[in-house]
């Protein structure tokens, strides 16, 4: 797996999964866990990265990709382990998913800046997994850990189906599969 602190190399595949988060903050590491799970189960033509979620890095990673799937933890007050999914082409990034900073730019800003600049990938899907524990320390909560495989399966299905449905229209969110 390519680590994001290395200098960027050209993305080899036009299908890219980016797991986002921090493994040292409990369930915030669930996006990275999905990326690592996919690394073990996915076939070779899928590029899988881990990232902190910093705006400019995300935009750089996805600039040449046709299909991009982001996975990150959510903290929106719903059931831990609940999976949300939305398509950036057909809807704006929900503000309740943005982190509470007006200075540090994250996923929401990356998506909306890219949209304003016509730099969104042709297909950009975001999976969010509701976390329970964001305290310092390793390990996922059990209900969050069970979502890792499910989201991995959803992503593989997305890739297999070539995301035809997402290129046309997409329901708002919360597809618990």
């Amino acid at each position: 797996m390519r680590e994001t602190h290395k200098l960027p190399v050209k993305v080899r595949s036009n299908k890219l999964v980016i797991g986002i988060g921090n493994s040292y903050r409990g369930d915030d590491g669930v996006g990275l866990a999905v990326a690592r799970h996919l690394k073990e189960t996915a076939s070779g033509n899928l590029e899988i990265l881990e990232a902190t979620g910093e705006c400019t890095s995300l935009m750089e990673f996805w600039k040449d990709a046709k299909v991009v799937i982001l996975v990150d933890a959510l903290q929106s007050g719903t059931r831990p382990g609940r999976i949300s999914r939305f398509c950036a082409q057909s809807q704006r990034f929900p503000t309740r998913f943005s982190r509470h900073s007006t200075h540090a730019l994250g996923i929401g800003e990356a998506i909306e800046l890219a949209r304003a600049m016509n730099q969104l990938p042709p297909c950009l899907i975001i999976y969010g997994i509701e976390g329970k524990n964001f305290q310092a320390g390793f390990g996922l909560s059990p209900e969050v850990a069970t979502a890792v495989g499910k989201v991995g399966d959803c992503i593989l299905e997305d890739i297999r189906s070539d995301l035809q449905h997402d290129l046309t229209h997409q329901p708002i969110e919360s597809v618990s599969r």
Binding site: T4, H5, T56, S57, H103, L113, A116
Partner: protein, 436 residues
């Protein structure tokens, strides 16, 4: 300028946008008099100085770096230098040079972000960088800013291990120093960045600036051989020239009721200004050749007291940081070993480095096993808060008869001149222990 007696109105900003942290602005004008002016800081205090007590000297750089996600290098550098003074450690010239390059990376990241994404929208009439980027004519400028920030990210990740909250700096040096060949891979992008930063000076210098020049005392580090980042004496535009060690004799912090952040002032007087404008004004002759040339070409005169020109000062420092990075990479020698030996002992160390937003002071007292007995941190935004309120008192009469929405927006723009980091400013705890 005075406000006509006929004017009574209120400017209220519940949540100041495009600054780091939570603050509000409340100004009341009653029959031509400003009767109430508060930059309220309601972000909760974060007690860093208290929970540093009892921790090892080596933990301070990484703990204090968590005060701020925008300028963690500044916290690491001030903490490391202060600890090295307390522990009486001398580092090698190669480590010193790598630290300077590390700091350049943070200045590039922070300045590019602030200029293009946080501050330029004010001058061009946009509520955010996203709406600014939607204008095809301004899109290339936003792209330029993002690419420069990205280059800063890459340089920071190479030296610090990752682009946010880097992990490789330590008391005595670095846990790992990059190889020369890794540095060389960044040169092309840095060369591009130098050109882009030079264009940035011309671009920001062409923005419309209000005519506003308060009487400031600019305060910054000054070094005999270089533009200040990690070292220097504390100097001011009003003839102050002291060592870092004497900082607390000349500057005091005090509590004000409406703020969870302390306000600093001169011990014998009032507010003062730290940050890029103060640094540029006090260190003009130390700016890199390209930065000096860009300044001359801009047609703007420095030293300059107009706080709105801080966006140009930041741009000049962006040029300097790119040019300095290229110079440091050209002469780079990997420090071997990457850190000098450090043995715990008792002592006290005080140090200031120049964070992107201005001087950042750290003082630590260590007991003989190297555990922290006392910690004191004075971040740049605390030092500028009183100055921001003084600016607003002078500026409100200039804008008060504008439509309320525009007057409010102008006042917010004034605050963003400072690139304030409220999260940094609310780190403190005033602790009182009574023993029976």
């Amino acid at each position: 300028m005075t406000i006509p007696k006929t004017i009574s109105r209120q400017i209220k900003v519940e949540y100041i946008a495009r600054v780091e942290g939570e603050g509000a602005l409340d100004i009341v004008v009653d029959k031509g008099e400003i009767t109430h002016l508060e930059l309220r800081i309601f972000e909760p205090p974060r007690f860093f100085e208290a929970f540093l007590q009892g921790r090892g000297f080596h933990e301070a750089p990484d703990i204090t770096a968590r005060i701020c996600g925008i300028c963690p290098v500044a916290y690491q550098m001030s903490a490391i230098h202060a600890m090295e003074k307390a522990l009486q450690i001398t580092i090698t010239p190669a480590i010193r040079a790598l630290r300077r390059l590390f700091y350049c990376a943070e200045w590039i990241e922070s300045h590019a972000l602030h200029i293009y994404l946080l501050h330029a929208p004010d001058f061009l009439g946009y509520e955010s960088a996203i709406s600014m980027a939607a204008n095809p004519e301004l899109r290339p400028a936003v792209e330029r800013g993002l690419r420069m920030k990205k280059i800063g990210n890459h340089l920071l990740a190479l030296i610090g291990g990752r682009e946010v909250h880097p992990v490789s700096a330590c008391v005595g040096g670095f846990y790992r120093a990059p190889k020369h060949r890794e540095m060389l891979r960044l040169k092309d992008e840095l060369e591009w960045g130098l050109e882009a930063a030079t264009e940035t000076v011309a671009w920001t210098a062409s923005l419309p600036f209000p005519d506003f020049t308060p009487d400031y005392e600019h305060v910054a580090l000054s070094h005999s051989d270089e533009y200040p980042m990690n070292e220097g004496r504390v100097v001011s535009s009003k003839s102050l020239d002291i060592t870092m060690e004497a900082f607390e004799e000349h500057f005091v912090e005090e509590h004000v009721a409406h703020s969870n952040a302390l306000h600093a002032r001169r011990a014998d007087g009032g507010s003062y200004l730290v940050g890029p404008l103060a640094r540029v004004n006090l260190n003009l002759d130390k700016l890199s050749p390209r930065a000096q040339k860009a300044m001359r070409k801009s047609g703007l005169k420095f030293p300059n007291n107009n706080p709105f020109l801080s966006i140009v000062a930041r741009s000049l420092e962006l040029v300097h940081a790119f040019e300095e990075s290229l110079r440091l990479i050209d002469v780079y020698e990997e420090p071997v070993p990457s850190r000098v030996e450090v043995l715990p002992r008792g002592g006290e160390g005080r140090h200031i480095t120049e964070a992107p937003r201005g001087m950042l002071y750290h003082r630590y007292v260590l007991e003989e096993r190297g555990l922290i007995k006392e910690a004191r941190i004075i971040p740049p935004t605390s030092q500028n808060l009183r100055r921001m309120e003084d600016d607003l008192r002078s500026y409100v009469p200039e804008v008060i008869d504008l439509p309320l929405e525009e007057a409010t927006w102008r006042c917010e723009q004034l605050i963003r001149n400072y690139d304030p980091c409220i999260s940094c400013a609310t780190h403190f705890l005033r602790l009182s222990i009574r023993r029976a």
